[in-house]
Amino acid sequence: MENLESIKPQINKIQNTALIVGLVGIVATVFGALSAREQFFQSYILGYLFWIGLPVGSLAIMALHHMVSGGWGFVIQRILEASSRTLPLMVLLFIPILFGMEELFLWARPDVVAVDELLQHKEPYLNIPFFTVRAAIAFGVWGLLIFLITSWSKKQDNDSDGRYTGRIVRLAGPTFLIYIITMTFMSFDWAMSLDPHWFSTIYGFVFVIGQAVLTLSFAIVLVNKFGKFKPISDYIAKKHTHDLGNLLLAFLSLWAYMNASQFLIVWSGNLPEEIPWYIHRMNGGWGSLIVIVLTFHFIVPFALLLMRRNKRNVNILSKIAYVVILVRFFDLLWLIAPNFHEHGFHFHWLDVAVPVGMGGLWVATFAWLVKGRELMPLNDPRLEEVFSHE
């Protein structure tokens, strides 16, 4: 672990700052929960859906990396592993949602369901026990996959034979598949069912690609921070940041593609069961928000990432990634908040306090986990081939 000596003070600094931010956020959150209960839960689910994207998205990008095993993946591998290992924290943070079911979900209110035929039809799926069981299954499956992959990856560090890498590679394909299916249903449960009358078959993909964008941007920001120190500085080269930039370009384009497809089809069909979702989100200030999101979640970074220079300079790339992370939050705000405020733009101080508090805790946990292991995988038999051509 002597490799980590130069970088450790940096990580400690991040950890301490995050912890302070987290604690302040929690105090504010608790105050908010007592004074504005309903708003607290609305802000809470927003913050939760933002931060859950990191551990779960990390699992997915880890799986993608092990399937294609390029150099870009090895320099962010340990960042993704630490990020995915924060899942227990997110499981813990899920519990408050179970106490706010009636505040959040129309289908969880017996009085609403009693007079709504459609919700009665959906009751076999949309009910609190089954909702909880589904979440538990998803957390269990993700936890198992994360545990297997990250512990094999750690064992590989001390093993000259490539058998653990072999196991990871074999598990990567199924992991990716399981992630997409489970995350689809969790996005239906946690986000789409906030408007229980509305449905869209592409919604799972919209959510999954959003998580991929967030996770990759996060990894880019950190690889810029950590890449200035040993051991990552020994490995990282311009071509890796170039690849990461291209990947981000592809993910952002896919995000735009999925959203544009959904919008065009719903707009063109103009059916009473589908179109209200967009009407709420295009009027009363929400419409301006999505224009801003579209500009900074797609148009501007797309144009910047087309230029080779911006992808080969990790400082510039990381600035773009910062912006994307920030806008990702507003994209989620646009997806989630109009469910509660369909008549116009609404922003409460808790919409900042809760996500920031949650984020403080998350980042502190991440920093604590990331310094516990080597920052570059050792003894992975693929490393030699990938890094030998420089």
Binding site: D161, G166, T184, S200, T201, I202, Y203, I265
Partner: protein, 457 residues
């Protein structure tokens, strides 16, 4: 040292070109298919058979032009039958070519080299076959140019809000860029053929096509730039084409068509069908022409993996469609999916699940992955399955519409089948002509692999 070697071997990739080849042997082997005078018996048999099918196409088209689309099985709820099914099927097949040549190039996947030329040709011919159907379905195909927005005395203008008009632009742009991409990639090889041809006519023809290529450093530099730019252009195009094709359905409000998942699910389905077709064609091709050294097991395996991955996306589409039909609580959506699964076309639906969802799962088994026959069988299942998928989407969504009194059954007539099989003739004939006249594997790109394979060994 021995230890590290054994460690490496497990992760070392299988060769993309068998060892022992030199520049000369590659050029000889590939160009000889084109430049030998003697026509192979196997080629002649294949070509004659395809040409026969092409005649079936011409015959059925001739009769169609005489009688009109009434000879097809179309009826009122099902007014889009074989024509759209076959159009989507053929266009989908074309997608693998662009994916292999453009996207895999951008992803720096060097194994694409030996199959890209062939796959691109397949794209062009598949698009040609696909284009026949909307044209013939128009009733008066000779007026096809009315689809284009051009100033005319009839004050005729396309309806730009219709995805069918978008199709015209998407498909024609795609065909054009694919043709350019294919031709640009061929120029250095045409020059090789020009230099090696003994026959004066061949020299002149290949020389003209080579456009004065001398292989200077400047030529190569410009070539590389142009090729990369075309690859960048082709990538969004290939996605846009099938997206627009899916819009043909999804923009309307017919239950079973109006689903937001359609664009990504159609694109994945297209790539899926395309890779199945590349496998179907390249497996016999490598056998007959002895190209096993160039189209190796690793190629077949990688193609099978892409097929599996896209097949899983397609399966995801089926699953989400069925789930959402119930979840939506919309009466017509629910009936549509129930009708698909248990109605009069249920056999086709379950056959499609067997072909598209169950059959490709065998690729997970390494024994199947390593068996040429196994992959060929799976690919055949997918070819059939993807045709069934389009049949199920088109027919089961239409044949029982909102008004039960107008319900009807649909099946293709002999003319539908003749036209469909006839386009296979068109496709195969073009393919046989291509194999005979143009190097089916890129000679100069294969040469670059020689130095790579030497470095590795």
């Amino acid at each position: 040292m021995a230890d590290s070697k054994s460690k490496k071997s497990k992760f070392e990739k299988a060769p993309i070109i068998e060892p022992g080849h030199t520049y000369g042997s590659i050029t000889d082997k590939i160009s000889s298919i084109v430049l030998t005078k003697k026509i192979r018996k196997s080629w002649l048999i294949g070509f004659s058979f395809s040409f026969m099918l092409l005649m079936v196409f011409l015959g059925s088209t001739g009769y169609l032009l005489m009688k009109g689309t009434g000879i097809w099985g179309l009826n009122v709820p099902v007014s889009w039958g074989f024509a759209i099914i076959n159009f989507v099927w053929w266009i989908g097949i074309g997608h693998a070519g662009t994916l292999i040549s453009a996207i895999l190039l951008l992803l720096r996947q060097d194994w694409r080299t030996s199959i890209n030329r062939f796959a691109e040709a397949m794209t062009l011919f598949a698009v040609a076959a696909a284009g026949m159907f909307p044209l013939l379905h128009m009733g008066r195909p000779w007026l096809f140019y009315w689809l284009m927005p051009y100033p005319n005395t009839m004050a005729l203008w396309p309806q730009f809000r219709s995805p069918l008009v978008w199709d015209v632009f998407a498909v024609s742009t795609y065909a054009l860029v694919s043709l350019l991409f294919w031709y640009v990639g061929l120029v250095p090889d045409f020059a090789t053929l020009r230099d090696r041809a003994k026959n004066r006519t061949a020299q002149i023809i290949y020389g003209t096509l080579a456009m004065g290529w001398r292989g200077s450093a400047v030529h190569w530099h410009r070539y590389e730039t142009a090729y990369l730019l075309l690859a960048g252009l082709a990538t969004p195009l290939v996605i846009s084409v099938h997206t627009v094709v899916s819009f043909d359905f999804a923009m309307g409000i017919t239950p079973g068509w109006h689903a937001t998942i359609f664009p990504p699910y159609f694109v994945a389905g297209a790539v899926y069908a395309g890779f199945a077709m590349v496998l179907t064609l390249s497996i016999p091709l490598r056998k007959v022409y002895g190209l096993e050294d160039f189209i190796t097991m690793r190629h077949l395996k990688n193609m099978a993996k892409v097929m599996l991955a896209t097949g899983l996306i397609v399966a995801y589409g089926y699953m989400i469609e069925a789930f959402t039909a119930w979840y939506s609580g919309a009466e017509y959506e629910e009936y549509m999916i129930l009708n698909r699964m248990t109605g009069p076309y249920k056999h086709l639906y379950w056959a499609l699940i067997l072909c598209n969802v169950i059959a490709p799962q065998f690729i997970w088994i390494s024994k199947v992955q390593n068996s040429v026959i196994g992959l060929f069988i799976v690919a055949m299942f997918v070819n059939v399955g993807m045709w069934l998928e389009r049949f199920v989407i088109v027919v089961t969504s239409l044949h029982r519409d909102f008004l039960p009194s107008s319900w009807d059954m649909y099946s293709g007539t002999i003319w539908d089948w003749a036209t469909y099989i006839g386009t296979m003739g068109l496709f195969l004939t073009l393919l046989f002509v291509f194999i005979r006249l143009v190097p089916a594997i890129s000679i100069f790109e294969m040469r670059t692999l020689v130095t790579d394979s030497e470095k590795e060994s």
